[in-house]
């Protein structure tokens, strides 16, 4: 593990600009994938609307910077907080739906935000808005320092999400979530408080997704409703990463993320065919081994990088 993390921490000292951009993208996709996996794989909350929170985070940090003069670095955690606060009432609506209808309901809510932000002329309406140059310059002394900073923030957020999900799943809460996912009625009967637990996970994931969204658009420096609330970027790709790598494990999203970026390097020129190929792989995996590539690997070799199995103590 150290062998991977130390070179990554030193990234700005060895990687060129293009590599760093790619790694930043890898980091936030991996974090988004882990968070979606926590929802769908561990908590049984299958959302197709996480783009709502990516977009809200992005628009929050832009609004905080432009209208309240909040320095963008403070804006990151604040954007996460704002997103979590907005997620609260939306969750209350979405939680009225269950199963497949929950999935489509979260999608409708994301669409409401996309269409709504397109109507806000102070934020550029449908054509979007750029972060004022002064705000960008205030981040760091020069461009390369800013890029290094963005890189470390992305890496830090990814590690926080990874460790956070791991520790959560090793805790009593994680045990409750697994019980709930495997058999909700049984979990309730042994005293798992279903609804508050799911609700808290949903809000927490929304907040962290919002922080990632803030980071994504801080790196892009420009935000539009189409990009911010894109179902293709923030749901389709993230879901494919988790499904291909292996849903319901921490290793799966990592494997899926590596595979996704490798495939993209080779197949991105294919354009729409690339998406067709990813779609076919995902469908095949769901039909053959729903636990993904990691499930196929561990069937033969029972290994684990992040043990979450619970042992009875005492």
């Amino acid at each position: 593990m150290v062998l991977v993390i130390v070179p990554l921490l030193a990234g700005p000292y060895w990687a060129d600009r293009g590599t760093m951009r790619l790694l930043i993208e890898v980091f936030y996709f991996l974090a988004l994938a882990q968070l979606w996996n926590l929802l769908a794989g561990y908590s049984g909350l299958i959302s197709v609307g996480q783009q709502a929170f990516v977009g809200l985070g992005g628009y929050s940090i832009f609004s905080l910077a432009m209208f309240a003069g909040v320095p963008v670095l403070w804006g990151l955690p604040l954007a996460g907080l704002v997103t979590a606060l907005i997620a609260w009432p939306t969750a209350m609506i979405a939680f009225r739906l269950s199963g497949p209808y929950f999935a489509i309901g979260t999608w409708v809510i994301a669409e409401v935000f996309r269409l709504g932000f397109a109507q806000v002329s102070a934020l550029g309406g449908g054509s979007g808005i750029s972060l004022p140059t002064a705000m960008v310059k205030a981040m760091a002394v020069n461009r390369s320092a800013r890029e290094s900073l963005t890189y470390w923030i992305a890496l830090g957020l990814m590690l926080v999400v990874l460790l956070g999900v791991w520790l959560l799943m090793r805790s009593k809460v994680g045990l409750g979530l697994l019980a709930l996912r495997d058999n909700e009625e049984a979990a309730v009967s042994v005293g798992v408080r279903t609804r508050p637990l799911k609700f808290a996970v949903y809000i927490g994931v929304a907040g962290l997704t919002g922080m990632l969204g803030a980071l994504i658009f801080l790196q892009k420096l420009r935000i539009t409703p189409e990009a911010a609330f894109s179902v293709n970027d923030w749901s389709v790709l993230v879901i494919f990463i988790v499904v291909i790598g292996g849903i319901g494990s921490l290793e799966g999203p990592i494997l899926g993320c590596i595979l996704f970026f490798v495939l993209r390097e080779f197949l991105a020129d294919l354009g729409t065919w690339y998406m067709v190929i990813l779609g076919i792989i995902s469908v095949m995996i769901m039909l053959i081994e729903p636990r993904g590539l990691w499930g196929i690997i561990t069937k033969r070799h029972p290994i684990t990088l992040f043990p979450v199995a619970h042992r009875r103590v005492g």
Partner: protein, 287 residues
Amino acid sequence: MDWINAIVQGVLLGGLYALFAAGLSLMFGVMRFVNLAHGDFIIAGAFGAMVLVELTGLNPLWMLLVVVPVMGAVGYLGQRLVLNRVVGQDLLPSILVTFGFSVILQNLMQETFSADSRRLSAGALDTASFSLGSGLSVGAVPLLMFVAALLVLGSLNWFFARTNMGRLLRATSDDPEIIGLMGADRRHIFGIAMLLASAVVGVAAVLLAIKTNFDPAAGPIRLLFAFEAVIIGGLGNLWGTLIGGVILGVAQGVGAQIDPGFQVLAGHIVFLVILVLRPQGLFSRSG
């Protein structure tokens, strides 16, 4: 007058939404399963009709005779060969497999037909309209859509109430385990449910192609409209989906009258408000 006109158009548009919704409602009712590629299947049917029109040069309405049975057959086979493997207790595989289908279909259509927006012409029917007096007029195509929705929903209701297969489908809806004991093959029953849902998709597809522009990426929003109509109307109630579709259509029509940018947003907001006030829908069978 503009407002009344917007409402009338909205009501008629609701017929098309009810057709979108009927397929979704049927699948969920019988199999507790939702096809996230539902909207993309509608658009695929529309492109199918377009290809047939280009080949034959006939009026698109004739294509109903081909598109509806072909969609039905594809639905039955798709259910037997693929979807039956993922329908079950665990919701995750069915949601993710159909979500994958949605992305595959969208991109295949874009590869085949380009991202251009299309529309089919029904000849003189496109511009024909009936005057209702005092400046109010109703287009022939919207009226046709509404009548088609009444016919389709009426036939489905008759089918469920009066035929043996309809009764079996309802029994499956009530308890999917028990029909096995009655000697029925659940895989076949599910196939029939999907056949019906897909045939309705075929009707909706041809009418959509005449009524509005469509492009390969236009599917997901139709899934959302179908879903909203189902939830507004209440689960398990086919006539409820018609009311749901009409409410959605009127909300969009009135929204567009306020500002064109509000059309779809107004529909979503009315849906969310109804979900908050009456989560079981307006005409739920159970509620």
